[in-house]
């Protein structure tokens, strides 16, 4: 094989690897509550769909496909689906990241590392008792704010998203 072709081949392999790595959505960023506060206090016209979940939570995992579907359906709109994992930070590499790769999750995933739950649950929503899953949809610019404790449906998510993307 010619030298040029070799370089091309290596480049193609590298590009493919890069694409796969990007799709796999890892490594997962570890965030604190200031990350959340920044989103809530922004004046952005983006609709944020935050799903609080954990890998071990069976009903959470069951509804992940709805969030993936919203992420896909609104890809060309100002909609950002963020799966906020409450897995323990120690288990990020052993549990969370392999899970995301295995399930081929495309939505953004962050790990909220705030072990003192009592200090921040009310800041998300005072009605939240702390059970998982929980979902919050908000659009800072259009003053939309919805909160769902427990399992939800695709129809509810879709309709709340639709409502939030317009003034």
């Amino acid at each position: 094989m010619l030298k040029k072709e070799w370089i091309l081949l290596v480049m193609m392999v590298l590009l493919t690897c890069a694409c796969i790595a990007q799709k796999a959505n890892v490594p997962v960023e570890v965030v604190k509550m200031d990350w959340y506060q920044k989103l809530r206090k922004s004046s952005s016209d983006t609709t944020y769909i935050l799903n609080f979940w954990a890998t071990w939570c069976v009903p959470c995992v069951a509804e992940l496909p709805y969030f993936e579907q919203i992420h896909q359906n609104y890809a060309d709109r100002k909609v950002k689906v963020i799966l906020v994992s409450l897995d323990y930070v120690k288990q990020k590499e052993k549990l969370l990241e392999p899970f995301i790769q295995k399930k081929k999750i495309h939505s953004k995933v962050v790990l909220l590392n705030e072990p003192n739950y009592n200090a921040w649950i009310d800041q998300i929503d005072p009605s939240w008792s702390g059970t998982l899953p929980a979902t919050q949809i908000f659009n800072p610019k259009y003053s939309r704010l919805f909160f769902i404790e427990g399992e939800t449906t695709f129809a509810i998510l879709d309709s709340l998203t639709l409502n939030s993307i317009r003034p």
């Binding site: 071990w56 739950y117 702390g130 059970t131 998982l132 309709s159």
Partner: protein
């Protein structure tokens, strides 16, 4: 137009099913009288609050076998009983989960887990889930500290055991112990309500 109608219908459903501030949520608030129960213990015998006539109170903890938070707190629940039963506040653990959704939480598995961990306190099954509903237990673990008032009990504290489920060595505030110590020294509970992330109770379908 059709879309708007659809949205309104869904929004209404959403509001009715999901919008439930703490004040409107069924279940106890600190200060409420705690209703009695009669639930089956892992030894086959029934246990009720009435059995605790000589207690100053009862630490009712809704917990289960499968939930990682419950598992993380098992040793601390055992320690609570060890440290406070002698002071008049024994632990009574109640598993509210539907074993059909979670076979790990079946009565047989409760017996196994209690034996493995050497539970010295009752571990009751709330088969009808009526007690969990009456108390307003939303998740596991969910602590309700009851304190004697006359011939009955009132709820003195609802919430978490402490402020760090995963790393006991990093705990800064032991909410349940603090409430117990305050009750024992005749003071009002300074923090009667705390919140924690927990596994939602698996309600029967």
């Amino acid at each position: 137009m059709k879309n708007t109608m659809m949205f309104l219908i869904l929004l209404f459903t959403f509001l009715v099913t999901s919008f439930s501030p703490d004040s409107q949520r069924p279940g106890y608030k600190p200060g409420d009288v705690a209703g009695d129960f009669s639930l089956k213990n892992i030894n086959g015998k029934m246990v009720s609050l009435n059995d605790f006539k000589d207690s100053k109170g009862v630490i009712v903890i809704f917990t289960c076998n499968h939930c990682p938070y419950s598992v993380a707190y098992e040793d601390r629940i055992i320690a609570l009983h060890k440290n406070y039963a002698g002071k008049g506040f024994p632990v009574v653990a109640i598993n509210p989960n539907d074993p059909i959704s979670y076979p790990d939480d079946s009565y047989e598995n409760m017996k196994i887990r209690a034996k493995e961990k050497g539970f010295k306190f009752p571990y009751l099954i709330d088969e009808t889930q009526e007690i969990a509903k009456a108390y307003g237990a939303m998740k596991t673990p969910h602590v309700f500290i009851l304190k004697r008032e006359g011939s009955g009990f009132v709820v003195a504290y609802i919430g978490a055991i402490d402020d760090n489920s995963n790393e006991p060595e990093l705990v800064q505030e032991k909410y349940a112990e603090q409430a117990l110590n305050e009750i024992l020294s005749g003071k009002p509970v300074s923090q009667p309500l705390t919140k924690a992330i927990g596994c939602g109770v698996k309600w029967r379908k």
